[in-house]
């Protein structure tokens, strides 16, 4: 099984890297971009085939290490 974890900054947390990306796109003429947020994608290979059990464990991993709840949120996809 694979888990894909998206970690992103919470709304309201200033994202200077995203702002720099949006600025660069504007400089290239992509004026339709109104904002950019930069996050992370983490892929895990997992043993086992119980999706619900895996979700619980991966959720724990996110809370304990993969995200910082002060500044970040996350979402999990299992396949």
């Amino acid at each position: 099984m694979k888990a894909k974890i998206h970690v992103y900054l919470k709304p309201g947390v200033l994202d200077p890297q995203g702002a720099a990306v949006a600025g660069a796109l504007h400089n290239m003429g992509y004026d339709e971009v109104t904002a950019a947020r930069q996050g992370k994608l983490i892929e895990l290979d997992l043993t086992g085939d119980d999706v619900e059990a895996a979700r619980k464990r991966v959720d724990e991993m996110c809370a304990k290490l993969l995200s910082n709840p002060v500044i970040e949120s996350y979402s999990i996809e299992l396949a």
């Binding site: 200033l14 200077p16 890297q17 720099a20 290490l65 993969l66 910082n68 002060v70 500044i71």
Partner: protein
């Protein structure tokens, strides 16, 4: 006071911390590798030094804060013993939950390396008692992720409780309310981005960090 300096893979201020502590106490601190699960017997002061533990991968300090020695440091802090985290050490202490908030990428996206003007906001702590309240210091900073963030409620609370210990005179990194260093509610765990251990000898170009170590450890 018996001291210990924690060493992670990628720490690079551990020897500066060692020398600063030795200069003030006349005693060499124990250098404790992160894979140890206990602090040396009789340890009182723990210093978590600066550097780039685990290459700053994932988030600065994230992996170091989950290393084997950390439960011992958390338990040590819970006894009321002094713990100081500088730079990467500050990041590790916020990641471990010993201090509120988080350190994010500098707002200017650049690594900053300069002597930072600081104001001592709270001289009533065991780390700052030998400074005058409001004293202006020059202490080196060298970091890419020193942008202190906490939600408004937390910021108001720590301001109200006198937990903001140092503030930048000129904000180098976008830190909320110019915060450079904070202390926990109990007053025994402090974290700061500036490097007091790099300002304890005339050879460093300044000695404004010396009083911090003298406050805590007494002069030799």
């Amino acid at each position: 006071m018996k001291s210990a300096v924690i060493v992670f893979p990628g720490s690079n201020c551990d020897r500066d911390a060692h020398d600063a502590i030795e200069k003030v106490t006349g005693q060499k601190p124990a250098m404790v590798w992160h894979q140890e699960s206990e602090l040396p017997e009789g340890t009182q002061f723990v210093m978590v030094p600066g550097g780039f533990s685990y290459g700053d991968y994932l988030r600065c300090g994230a992996m170091a804060s989950r290393s084997a020695i950390m439960p011992a440091i958390v338990a040590h802090a819970a006894t009321g013993a002094p713990v100081l985290g500088v730079c990467n050490g500050f990041q590790i202490l916020t990641e471990s939950g010993l201090l509120p908030g988080a350190l994010m990428r500098n707002a200017g996206l650049k690594f900053v390396c300069e002597k930072a003007p600081l104001t001592v906001e709270n001289a009533n702590t065991q780390f700052t008692s030998r400074y005058e309240a409001g004293a202006q210091l020059l202490v080196p900073i060298a970091h890419h992720d020193g942008n202190y963030f906490a939600d408004t409620e937390t910021l108001d609370r720590i301001e109200g409780e006198g937990q903001v210990v140092f503030r930048y005179g000129r904000n180098p990194n976008g830190s909320a309310r110019d915060i450079a260093g904070i202390i926990n509610e109990q007053g025994n765990v402090m974290g700061m981005m500036p490097h007091p251990e790099r300002a304890v000898d005339d050879g460093h170009g300044g000695t404004d960090g010396l009083a911090l170590f003298e406050s805590l450890l007494g002069s030799a």
